[in-house]
Symmetry: D2
Subunit: 291 residues, 4 copies
């Protein structure tokens, strides 16, 4: 039976670990706070006191932590994953971090005989609960084959997109398109409301044609009601757009819309609206329109 | 049997008129050049020598012409639709024009007892051929009921979105979202290519999540091949974005992404690339990235 | 003695007319409201009951009105300047309007033997009072020679920049640079304040180098105090940026910064801040920065 | 007699060191390559074989190197300035680097009894030769008093703008305004040329009013001739705008125009135009306008 160490049992990691238990894996999890660990135990998993214990007997370790420095701490730190890894361990990092950090972590791990995949996810809390996440995986093809059944237990679309870091790069592109599309839909909504159009009919017809997108399908109804309960917080999207901008700059790629929407998201965070759902960009468009 | 006068048998109007014939209507069409009229006759319709003849005996007139002044000429002109209308005529203008022009035309027509709907379409040449257009209709609800069976013969999603001009407003919002989404996808593609990602896998996983949209579904494959055969030309999208910007300015609505993508589309036209498909925005992103 | 008809005695026109009286001209002025006419009489000018009377005996007519339609009304209208012009009249239009309108007015006038210059001004109310305006003149060189002594009585820098409409084009470029520079200075001020820099010292050193500009010299002190008393109102600058955008679009010229600052100015107007001085753009930057 | 160690004798550092010799200081300089050192000796200075020798006997050390890591190497490195400093040394860093790096260097230095000022300069090669640089200084007021006579020997406007890092912050604001102003002038030039205006007359009248700025005064003539000989290279301005964007992001400050012009500068570098003068932004505006 495969033992999976799971580091980081938050909003995303918690339901993912529970789905792995449901799929029959032996899951031993740790978290900075205790309640999520208790929930994992209640769901049939096992508790670890920390990274060392979660790693020591694991065949697979999954990390799901907030940002690049957290991954560096958890993996490269004094009593971290590498310091406690069994020979041949496969580490699957599901965090959304800088591609360059993923590559650096992979280099350090491989030097110690630990295999690594970067496997950031898209789909939000609901996708984690429903095991319908999209997962973009970077690393060796053979390691992807090993990881595939495990990732299939937490996601619906699991795709190998290239070498180490490629998963993060695709996740960055994903966040660029999502932020931009939310902003476009927000501009369209305020524009249509200002002209007195029947909004439900308008959203329906827009969603049915070449303007159709997942934001119109899943978020527009709440946007019309000004319900910005997260979902995915603007503050996290702001972090991700920092990754996008740095990676675009490094590669010399022009992202004119990306640069403008990054400014708008940064404004929302600076104004104190970082805890709203990312569809809360509508609020800024509305205020800029004096409405 | 209902007689439909059809004015403007171009790339869009031609197949729409043919679909009306196929649905059993008596269609009498005119066009500035003769070959499209001949094609309508070959398809089972009738030829008119001009607007007067196409209008005189019609219960319904459909106009499908390039721009606001063309609609004004065809409808309000000396020997135009209003000058030749039977009492009780219903005029359905399927052109994409300024909302203000639609309202002005409606006002002039109603004063003469002619009913009018603005009914711009989305879906491109293929949608016109397949009778799968999205149609956004502005005007009186009772006139919409009259027009519905006719529009159902040329479109798949036919929606009444508000009073006179509302169809044009929704079409403008549609064009705003479409242009912005193409640009976002173009930025993502160049970004991913620059980072050496497996592009087919990346497009697949992006299309499956919150970043999913109709451009990824229908245009990305051609964009990866740099095949910019139109489809819908940048020069026409440029015209439409002029309508968007004017209508946003009139209403005091902020469209920061709309303003930037309008600049990019205008550049493509100024550089002589106006006859490419609108997905040709990718070419500009690529050049701005020195690739 | 040269008789000058002066149409439009507002914030700018009033002091300009008074300076012409001071320079020894016979000035006969009219205005939609009476008090400015009384002030002209008190200053030594003469009152006209309307455009017809102001034009009838004039060798020169100067128009200074708000927008393109006002110029069309005053010049081309039923009892307007052209209808009442002496043979050989020289019309100097100092309004800031669309270049295309200036060209259309010139064409109509020349067809009647009336000569025309477009001569928009820059420098604000204080420049009008002090007779230090910059004046950009479009039209025939020989007409410019005739007008030069008169314009020297109200301005300091009086330059012939090209054919009919060229004055308006240069004024549009002026307004593009001014709005953009205000926004850049506003971004710099909020940036520096956020970092706790000594602001007076910073402004001094910025103004002394390659970043130096007239906004730092004349407006930054008030911006630091958040004193946005006009000066030149955002609502008028919004009108001017509409002219800039239309003229850039007509010529196929890319104005990426112009497009973005136009959005920001439009937002200020939409939010109800149109009556602030244009340096009030600082307020928006500050709010977007959550400060 | 005060001994000044000078580290980095490049395009800027070389003439600055020569001016210090001319002002009577004992200048001992080092550089990665030998010819600039020979030129310093020919000008009356002394040669050092490296940082250790340039620092060992110095009362003052001035560093003028390209980027943040270069300053870290030179100051904090194994055989760097701190490792060789006399007690009480005053280090003046004239490089343009991240404010955060300046603060980190200052902290490390102060812990060792070395005083530090960040003192980036503006004015270009000509300003360095003519000793007319603008210098923005961050650090302790008493250290600024010590440095003032020395900086006066190389600059014209020498201003204390705040604590450690403040000099860099003001330099960043300077580069934001300069890049933005170049772009605004470029947009105006292409706009005016497209409309057939007399360009010399137009530049003259623009420079005389509220649109006036140092770019119109010093760069527009070369821009009209498409002479983009540096001057200050786009690749260096690109580096500086990276600092601006990072510092704005850290402080949560919105810089909408800054973000857009950063994209345009990045494009020029990505396209291979990084070695042009920064006024070469005109080339991009022209191409985007299809001219």
């Amino acid at each position: 039976m495969t033992t999976i160490g799971f580091i980081g049992l938050g909003i995303m990691g918690g339901p993912m670990a529970a789905n792995l238990v449901k799929a029959g894996y032996d899951v031993v999890g740790c978290n900075l706070t205790q309640p999520p660990v208790d929930r994992l135990v209640a769901a049939g998993g096992r508790a670890a006191s920390g990274i060392a214990e979660a790693t020591r007997d694991a065949d697979i370790v999954i990390t799901m932590v907030p940002d690049s420095p957290d991954v560096e701490d958890a993996v490269l730190g004094d009593d971290g994953v590498l310091a406690n890894a069994k020979p041949g361990l496969l580490l699957i990092d599901c965090s959304s971090i800088r591609p360059a950090t993923s590559r650096a972590v992979a280099e350090a791990a491989v030097a110690q005989g630990v295999r690594v995949l970067d496997a950031p996810v898209s789909g939000g809390e609901q996708g984690a609960i429903d095991a319908t996440l999209s997962i973009m995986v970077g690393g060796e093809a053979s390691d992807f084959e090993t990881a595939k059944p495990i990732l299939d237990a937490v996601g619906k679309t699991v795709v190998h997109v290239g070498p180490h870091g490629a998963g993060q790069t695709v996740k960055a592109a994903n966040q660029l398109i999502v932020a931009g599309t939310i902003e476009l839909v927000a501009e369209a909504i305020v524009f249509l409301e200002a002209h007195g159009v029947d909004m439900d009919a308008a959203i329906k017809v827009l969603a049915g044609g070449l303007a159709g997108n997942a934001i119109l399908d899943r978020k527009a109804a709440n946007m019309l009601k000004r319900d910005f309960t997260p979902g995915f917080r603007l503050s996290l999207h702001h972090k991700d757009l920092g990754i996008v901008q740095a990676a675009a700059r490094d590669a010399g790629v022009a992202i004119p819309l990306g640069a403008v929407v990054s400014q708008l998201v940064a404004s929302m965070v600076a104004r104190g609206d970082g805890s709203l759902d990312h569809s809360g960009l509508l609020k800024l468009v509305q205020e800029l329109s004096g409405r």
